[in-house]
Subunit: 245 residues, 2 copies
């Protein structure tokens, strides 16, 4: 049996950095999605394996907290493990470790397994009892559980975009990291010069499809806290909370 | 002295693939820009080194021809070398090699060295005669020299976008690969199911700045050939030619 905790190394190439010469939040989220995907695949319940059962993993929530973004040209290690498997959800955690071995951040994700035909959630332990052997409840992921992210009412969106080719990923859906990339794009460049995103939470509520025209509504809760609501018409596709430091 | 030809390895992670499970053209162009940057840096004339002289490399043209895009989870090697150094331009070539050692594509780029204060091109051999020792005129780059890309006249743009945070790269300018990502986004998803971009040429004419509202105009020259003109107002920022196969 493979170890419960998987460890994956990434290199911070120049093309994953922003003008601060550090990896972006979007890229950190791509790395964690990639680590999750390889970890699951190596243990027999990856995307390709479960698609034979007509089942797909769907990311429901992501919470990521980073104290220090890795620098250009450095290595980054992403550790990932399954924290819980309950009836309809599984929680997967992540730890980000820089080249010197220092922990620079954590993340927690919540996934559902969806029947591709009925689009309904599947009872995970009944469907795949073998997953339970990989649950690692001991390793700490010191990031608070996500709180509810409120809706943003608004008439005039702050920004809009159409879902295009580059938003669609290997799984033929809008890539979760692309929702994050677009949401962060709502901010002016000046804020990135003074602050960094210390905490980012996102809840996925509906699916963006190719050609959808999405509108972003933002609410400023306190000096460093913002809610961004990404809507298709009246419906929220995803909502995120951003805390700057 | 380092070898004239540099060789750099990349791994095709899931997050650089599109729904065809292959690396995208945008990612191939990011890889080549990254290879160029490391090659130059290792030989003493990289971005950081020349910025001490208040000089920056500016990409003027890029021509890329790919017969087969690398698959998810494979390694890709990018070879790069300087083909010519003339008074105001240097040509840098690239060869893409897949995991089995097969050549899957080539690219040629043309760069100017710009004085950051006057914004005027610098006489490259006079400024850096040491670059000439790295010129490799023997290695073949069998890709035709770029032809002129015509302007596209038009009233109604096919697409528009605003230059945002994720478009700005480590050099604090709009990233060349992002112009390519946005240009390709003009196409409907259906064409990517049937064809791939065999040849892509782009000429950079002006700079996109944060907040600029760019408009894309497209002209269909023949069944598989398109010109895309990216404009800021009346002025072309870049123009590309795309040939599908």
């Amino acid at each position: 049996m493979l170890p419960k905790i998987g460890s994956f190394k990434f290199h911070i190439e120049s093309y994953v950095c922003d003008f601060t010469e550090k990896a972006t939040l979007t890229v950190m989220s791509r790395f964690l999605l990639d680590a999750a995907s390889i970890h699951a695949q190596q243990r027999g319940f990856g995307y390709e394996q479960i698609s034979k059962d007509n089942v797909a993993w769907v990311l429901s929530r992501l919470s990521i907290q980073i104290e220090e973004y890795p620098d250009h040209n450095q290595d980054l290690t992403v550790e990932t493990w399954i924290e819980t498997v309950s009836r309809f959800f599984t929680q997967r955690c992540f730890c980000f470790i820089d080249q010197s071995g220092k922990i620079i951040g954590y993340a927690r994700t919540i996934w559902a397994a969806i029947d591709m035909q009925t689009r309904r959630p599947i009872d995970i332990p009944a469907w795949r009892p073998d997953m339970l052997q990989y649950v690692e409840p001991e390793k700490q992921c010191p990031i608070e559980k996500m709180s509810k992210i409120p809706m943003v009412d608004g008439v005039d969106p702050h920004m809009g975009y159409t879902v295009r080719y580059s938003d669609i990923d290997i799984n033929k859906h809008m890539n979760s990291a692309k929702y994050i990339e677009h949401a962060i794009n709502i901010f002016d460049l000046s804020i990135f010069k003074e602050k960094f995103i210390r905490k980012f939470e996102i809840v996925f509520l509906a699916e963006g499809l190719f050609g959808d025209k999405l509108k972003l509504y933002m609410q400023n809760l306190s000096e460093n806290e913002y809610i961004i609501d990404t809507k298709k018409g009246e419906e929220s596709v995803c909502r995120s909370r951003i805390i700057w430091k």
